[in-house]
């Protein structure tokens, strides 16, 4: 077995993909939050959504990775871009956006990050049973899409139906909200 830095080639590849896409996601997130141009922010969000899809793939959730690309990249991001285009006067290229309360915001966000990181690092996940030793990538069923579909139609059938009704009403409500008022 060839090994580099004490890791097998597969592990090394996994680490490179993980850290590469982590960097991409955090750079995208920074651009979304700190960028001056709204369109740039929207496209940086694209990078972040793709990074999340790659994380799902790394975690063996291939159905969610596909859904992430289809729904977030293909749906929500396009919707957000429509939002940007329809609410700015695009012809004078004034797509700038303002920030306020930067210092308190940075303090709160920094505190949130430090707290979450502290909890993530210091909690003994193994002892609490959240991490089961010896689970390798081979333990995950090759296609967990079928298992996910079975769960949706058995254990989670009520939330599944409620979610579909919610989607219907949300779309009807959205169409209601933006229609032009017509006097009948």
């Amino acid at each position: 077995m060839t090994s580099i830095f004490g890791l097998t080639v597969e592990e090394l590849f996994l680490y490179i993909v993980f850290y590469g896409f982590s960097a991409l996601m955090i750079a995208g997130g920074l651009t979304v939050v700190l960028g001056r141009n709204l369109v740039h922010s929207a496209f940086a969000l694209l990078a972040t959504f793709f990074g999340v899809a790659v994380f799902y793939a790394l975690l063996g959730a291939e159905f969610l990775a596909g859904a992430q690309v289809l729904i977030y990249v293909g749906g929500i991001l396009i919707l957000l871009l429509f939002g940007v285009m329809l609410t700015q006067r695009i012809y004078d290229m004034n797509l700038k956006t303002e920030t306020f309360q930067v210092r308190p915001g940075l303090a709160v966000a920094g505190l949130v990050f430090l707290t979450l990181t502290f909890v993530a690092v210091r909690t003994p996940w193994k002892r609490l049973g959240f991490v089961v030793e010896g689970r390798s990538i081979n333990d995950v069923p090759i296609s967990n899409t079928a298992e996910l579909g079975r769960l949706f139609l058995t254990d989670y059938v009520l939330p599944f139906e409620v979610a579909s009704v919610l989607l219907l009403f949300a779309l009807m409500g959205a169409a209601m909200l933006v229609r032009r008022r017509v006097d009948l």
């Binding site: 959730a61 729904i71 919707l79 306020f100 966000a109 990050f113 979450l116 996940w125 390798s136 919610l166």
Partner: protein
Amino acid sequence: MIPLEHYLIVSAALFSLGVLGILTRKNAVNVLMSIELILNAANINLVAFSRYSSVNLSGQVFAAFVIVIAAAEAAVALAIVLSLYRILKSVNLDRATALKG
């Protein structure tokens, strides 16, 4: 295998970036983008825990519901932003101070 903590830290970074965006941006569409960042960060946690623990696929099921609700939320929120823009001619959140248009 990549330790669970690394996923949690990346997700924490995305979450705090989303919080920062909500607190500091004035543009309503930009605040929406930050909310999507937070939802994605939570989703990474759900899928990561579902992968590393013995609790099977329930984390992935919850993540799928989060994606569905994020889609509904984005549609309704953008409808609200568009009607706000029609009334105020701006999407600056500081100017949206009245409940009735």
